[in-house]
């Protein structure tokens, strides 16, 4: 996809808060990450190609690799990246003093976004979220090894999601952060095949193609292979495990 046309477009990401309708049962569109027209941030665009009914596969099993049917989603993100290093722990993503905010409360969810990555040391000169803002202009976070290590606080992927982050691309993840990202559906925790945090700079324009497991840095013109997100993809796309389970018929649709 040509970057220039994408950039001039004003389709921006619609990132819903968890209490807004995300589950497909009450969602007007079957594809959950849906674009909406607005003009407040023209650089961050988010394309969803024609909602392709992605295969709903059972959770990954040992035999998955031999199954020819691969789970593929067609989600593509486009936006500015914010680049971090190794071992970005949950205290840097959301310092413990803000854990009094309860993510399941919509107002406090929004507020968590304003504090995302505010625990980074001052060696990071560019602020992730500008003072007074609730969201960041950077929708893709690039990291090194062991991203999200430390505590089990779900506030970490939630803060990133609330700030408008759609995907994190890192070399590897700490286990609980990865699981929380998938469970909540807040961000795609994508793994790069090589160390890209040293080849991207904060502010570079990127495209992440989930389906093709590809990352393109339009600023440098380089392209990188990502590790497939696999069966976690549809879960995140649905908006988390509960929404996915309802969509897949594993649990019944909500009564209320």
């Amino acid at each position: 996809m040509a970057a220039s046309t994408a950039l001039s477009s004003s389709i921006t990401t619609f990132k819903s808060s968890p209490f807004q309708p995300r589950a497909s049962s009450i969602n007007p569109l079957p594809s959950v990450k849906f674009p909406s027209i607005s003009s407040n941030n023209p650089l961050i665009s988010h394309f969803v190609s024609a909602p392709k009914n992605s295969t709903v596969a059972p959770l990954r099993s040992a035999a998955a690799s031999t199954t020819p049917e691969t789970t593929k989603t067609a989600t593509t993100f486009h936006g500015l990246c914010y680049v971090l290093g190794d071992n970005i722990d949950t205290d840097q993503i959301i310092p413990a003093e803000y854990l009094t905010l309860v993510p399941s409360n919509p107002d406090e969810y929004k507020k968590l976004g304003s504090y995302a990555l505010c625990g980074l040391p001052s060696s990071y000169q560019t602020r992730f979220v500008e003072p007074g803002e609730f969201t960041s202009k950077y929708s893709i976070v690039i990291g090194g090894d062991n991203f999200g290590c430390g505590s089990s606080r779900e506030h970490a992927p939630v803060a990133l999601g609330a700030a408008g982050v759609l995907a994190v691309v890192a070399e590897s993840y700490a286990r609980i952060f990865f699981r929380n990202s998938v469970s909540t559906g807040e961000v795609y925790p994508l793994e790069s095949e090589k160390r890209i945090c040293e080849e991207c700079k904060t502010g570079d324009v990127l495209t992440v193609e989930i389906g093709d497991s590809r990352l393109i840095n339009h600023t440098t013109g380089k392209e990188y292979k990502l590790k497939p997100i696999g069966d976690a993809g549809p879960v995140i796309e649905a908006g988390g495990i509960f929404a996915y389970a309802r969509k897949a018929g594993m649990i019944s649709a909500r009564e209320a």
């Binding site: 209490f19 990954r60 309860v102 040391p121 290590c149 089990s152 606080r153 469970s183 209320a256």
Partner: protein
């Protein structure tokens, strides 16, 4: 078994050269160099079995269903005859613990997904322990404890360790303090069971021979409604530690050594099992310290086989009658994974500290002896247990001197606080820890809670509000962990922390203990 593949699978160990020969490994020059430099003594030796999932015991023909501790527990909890690493299994949860930081969010998800009138799956299997942000005027923090209380009343939760009078914690007989220590003291940690908690240090409970790991709010919300969770069976890294523990070392030194060896991501997605005569000689509290920090190596869970020490601890507190335990026999080595052992030489010299800003930034205490410090903190689930304060008191007693920097003491629980004020310190002529601390010029032991280990609200006792240097018995030293972003935290054992308080520099406790 090809030695080369084994080496490749764990590049972190440095191998004792003699044993390399013994086990017929092909020698690699890089290892030899390290060995020559680092080899000191074998008094304490840890042996790590490399992970070899592809070589199941069944393939050797000698054993049919060899399983590690972790696999046995998860097989039982998922009603399967056996499980293997990588299997995704639905596990029945024996205990779910949550606290004031993640409880309200978990409850929110539970209500949203299961309905406003939904009931938790088992009112006796949920344990709710306010402990993080208690002694603060932060309104939202106080509100979060209120949310827990309302929920527990509504659901008639059996185990809720409430606090209402924030002015004096002792006016709250139900209040315990730090959840991981309280879980053990109140008998919620039982061999063979599955314990989940909305806190990464839930892995502490693995010291009791059970599967214990931390989960997020959404997973906890699911468990609240169903009592089940989908888990992937982790492969096991096994650490065999044999030998007599020198009297200046504590379990904290061992785990810092291991994390330094395998790095903060060395055990990601894996179980860490600790066995050997050294581990067998450790008390329950020391075993808890060992398991507590497996998450700092990225580990999913830590586990130590239950033995007489475990059962004595449980019986002493009348926590659980013997017949309730599911005794998991520790598998024989041949049944386990492999017949090859790797040696990591655990430095005899190691009163360790982890330098800022990562728990695997290992150094010897005496290598940091020129680091001037501003404060010392003794507390948390890692280093705020009764024996941790006893250890600190032992150093103060041996020195007879006063501390040179502010020394903050935060007992993990109300019971630990009582012990600090009542148990006599051996060799002191009947003095309690609190008396020794007072004579040494420490701050008065504070109200039990997680306190400043993770920063917390601005008015948290002993929080690092300035860019200071702290020696701490806690578990993490990432930037900003204890409050100030530019603060520097040296993680250390209670011995090393106390010795450092006495000199104002990072100090090897043998300066006072010998």
């Amino acid at each position: 078994m090809a030695a080369s593949s084994a080496i490749a699978s764990s590049s972190t160990a440095f191998i004792n050269k003699k044993d390399v020969g013994l086990f017929a490994f092909s020698s690699q020059s890089s290892f030899s160099v390290q060995t020559a430099r680092k080899r000191i003594s074998k008094k304490i030796v840890s042996v790590m079995t490399p992970q070899q999932t592809e070589r199941k015991p069944a393939t050797t023909g000698s054993v049919k269903t060899g399983m590690t501790m972790t696999e046995k527990i998860l097989a039982k909890a998922s009603d399967k005859p056996d499980v293997s690493p990588g299997d995704n299994v639905w596990v029945n949860v024996d205990v779910l613990m949550t606290h004031d930081v993640c409880g309200p969010g978990s409850i929110g998800i539970f209500k949203k997904e299961f309905g406003q009138n939904a009931k938790v799956w088992d009112r006796e299997k949920l344990v709710i322990i306010p402990d993080h942000y208690i002694f603060t005027t932060d309104e939202r923090a106080n509100r979060n404890v209120d949310i827990l209380r309302d929920f527990c009343n509504e659901q008639n939760i059996k185990y809720f360790y409430d606090i209402k009078d924030l002015g004096n914690f002792r006016a709250n007989p139900d209040y315990k303090g730090v959840c991981h220590v309280a879980l053990a003291q109140e008998g919620h940690c039982r061999p063979g069971e599955v314990l989940l908690g909305t806190d990464s240090h839930t892995c502490t409970a693995g010291a009791f021979g059970q599967f214990a790991t931390g989960i997020g709010n959404t997973d906890a919300g699911f468990v609240l409604g169903t009592g089940k969770i989908l888990l992937k069976v982790p492969p096991t890294l096994r650490f065999v530690m044999d030998g007599e523990m020198p009297d200046y070392l504590l379990a904290k030194d061992l785990i810092l050594q291991i994390i330094g060896e395998i790095s903060v991501a060395g055990a990601t997605y894996k179980a860490m099992e600790f066995v050997g005569t050294t581990v067998e000689s450790l008390t329950m509290e020391e075993r808890m310290t060992l398991c507590n920090m497996v998450v700092e190596a990225g580990g999913k869970n830590g586990v130590i086989p239950a033995d007489k020490t475990t059962y004595d601890y449980l019986e002493e507190g009348l926590l659980c009658p013997m017949n309730l335990f599911i005794v998991m026999k520790e598998p024989a080595c041949s049944e386990f994974l492999t017949d090859e052992h790797w040696e990591i030489v655990c430095l005899k010299d190691c009163n360790l500290s982890s330098k800022p800003h990562s728990p695997d930034n290992r150094a010897l205490a005496r290598e940091c002896k020129d680091v001037k410090i501003d404060r010392v903190y003794i507390g948390s689930c890692t280093g705020g247990k009764t024996e941790d304060f006893m250890a600190a008191a032992k150093v103060f007693l041996a020195s007879g001197k006063k501390v040179k920097v502010p020394t903050f003491l935060v007992p993990a629980t109300q019971k630990v606080w009582m012990d600090v004020y009542s148990l006599p310190v051996p060799g002191s002529g009947g003095k309690t820890c609190s008396q020794i601390f007072e004579e040494a010029g420490c701050d008065t032991p504070a109200s039990p809670s997680c306190g400043a280990c993770l920063g917390g609200p601005k008015d948290t006792y002993a929080r690092m509000n300035e860019a200071q240097v702290c020696v701490s018995t806690t578990n993490r030293n990432f930037p900003g962990r204890m409050g100030h972003k530019e603060g520097q935290i040296y993680l250390a054992s209670p011995y090393t922390a106390a010795a450092s308080a006495l000199t104002g520099y990072v100090t090897d406790p043998r300066e006072f203990l010998q």
